[in-house]
Amino acid sequence: MTLAADPARDPGHDGVQPSGAILPARGLGDRVSAVFWRHPNVLLATLLALPLLWLVVVYLGSLAALLMQSFYSIDEFSGQIRREFTLSTYAELLRPANMDIIIRTVAMSAAVTLGAVVIAFPIAYFAARYARGHWKALFYLGVMLPLWSSYLVKVYAWKLILAREGIITWATDGIGASAVLNGILALPVIGGNSLSTSYIGTWLVFLYVWLPYMILPMQAALERVPQSMLEASADLGASRWQTMQTVVFPLALPGIIAGSIFTFSLTMGDYIIPQIVGSSRRFIGQAVYQLQGTAGNIPLAAAFAVIPIVIMLIYLTVARRKGAFDAL
């Protein structure tokens, strides 16, 4: 062991040893670490290189490729893809059948989000304000549990529950409420032959599958509402309803918006649920799948895939203004 290596062991020594802070490099490791010390940006770049490469090449690269495809078109005569810039594929989106798909998907996403807000708020409020100890653990378990089981299993289970000869029909028959169920199914547009072949059914399954994504951010936001504010509100003579309206809800709004980003975007991108439960009318995801797969119409599939991206960008911009990302 050299002196230079371990001056601390010999504090009484008063030789020619330089200050303890500057030591000769002991190998490659030291030299590399010295470079990093002197040029912190190099360290940063080294650490970020891999994730950045992933982000740029895999993530943005694939997005760019997608975007490019959407500016190509399919030749009407031969069915071959023409690799020339054109907006005609986007114009094709405006055809009534394709507009139907977009409107249908956005309307379903909005309905699922609204439904999720209405159902999730009381649950999240209870969990954030009243549940303690074991109850809180139970709440987390209850909310998370559906997330742990297979998505497909859940959807197939719902198909059985909603079937014409399923448990809901059986139960409504049992309590003599089949007239109510038939009345609901007779509703125009959202009704259908049975719950499992109607928009109502599709909506219910979406709602069930994505609900945890709404509850969790909402509960996080509600927990951050300070107790003192509620007390102040009460001291100033506000009723419970007024407190809820003017204090709790505005403060919880970022959490609600954060949750709605999940429910909205997840619904918009899903193509499995509407295939299993619903009336076979296409959603954007299904249209993309079918157009790129069997039809070989990749430009139109790409143009369809751009729609949710655009809608989500607008949505996220609005959400950011409302401070939704503070609650994530």
Binding site: I74, D100, G192, N193, T197, I276, S280, R281
Partner: protein, 385 residues
Amino acid sequence: MRHLRLMGTTALAAMLGVTPALAQVGALGTPEGKLNIVAWPGYIERGETVADFDWVTKFEEATGCMVQVKTANTSDEMVALMNEGGFDLVTASGDASLRLVAGGRVQPINLSLIPSWGTVDERLKNAPWYVVDGVHYGVPYQWGPNVLMYNTEVFGDTPPTSWNVVFEEMDLPDGQTNKGRVQAYDGPIHVADAAQYLMFHKPELGITSPYELNQEQYNAALDLLRVQRTLTARYWHDAFIQMDDFRNEGMAASGTWPFQVNLLQADGVPVASVIPQEGATGWADTTMMHVNAENTTCAYQWIEHTLSSNLQADLSVWFGANPVVPAACTDGRGMQTAEGCTKNGFDDFERIRFWTTPVTRCESQEECVPYYRWVSDYIGVIGGR
């Protein structure tokens, strides 16, 4: 002995300096030890799904060719994989096989190297979906019809005789309307089923092939499908979801594959199937060899195996399809029986129009509506347009 002969021919070929100048293989060499196949899901089973259904293990033991299967879910995926290369064989349907031939991705098959070729169904030996200008670009693998399945409790003793139960609104034998109680396939190829129905009922349209439609004929088919939309609660896409709908949604009739009929009947669901008076559409698959196949000897041995082993019989039971070797129905080489073949539509070959890809330049007319338009328009029809 056979092995010796193989070695002999290889040696001879090597001595004479015979290189395969012809596109097709002249003689077999030693097995390469592996074989890569692109296949439909469920087409090449090694007993891993259900132990009884295994037609790979024995082949591997006998030849030493280890089989690697890459499954593809659509004909387009198959074509794409074959274009990429690296595969020896593909089980191509009629809507992919001619594309592969036209694209030069598959090579002619030397039938003299397949001893069991003689046992192949005469009706398939020169089928137009794999024989081009008299050259065989493959060997038939399996075929099946799209039958009309119906609920026997609804129809009683009078099975439907026409596809009209799924195309036009009417009261079924149980006195209730068919509205909301019928289904249709959600693939755009279903347009052909409508065209075939019109071929029979509206001869004035002049349809000669349901896969070759001019604009007027195509519009008529779409109009019929729009009527069908009002009757259909849900279109079927996944075989198992359709089976579930016949169990739990009170479905009365639908076009389907014998696969679903067999499984439902095995479960005691009251269904049966017919091929109605208009005939039916169907699929016919062919084993084809990649133009740059590396493992040609194993590939030829596999093709021979597909015809001579338990494969034809057991696959036809497993998939609800028909063997391309008629003897497989009766000679007990596998689980198939004469009754089973009849049930799967073996005797109805003449009434089946096999899937082919609709193309713009069609044979029977000047110009036909191509497949990609079938796709977007069928999406529109299902969406209520």
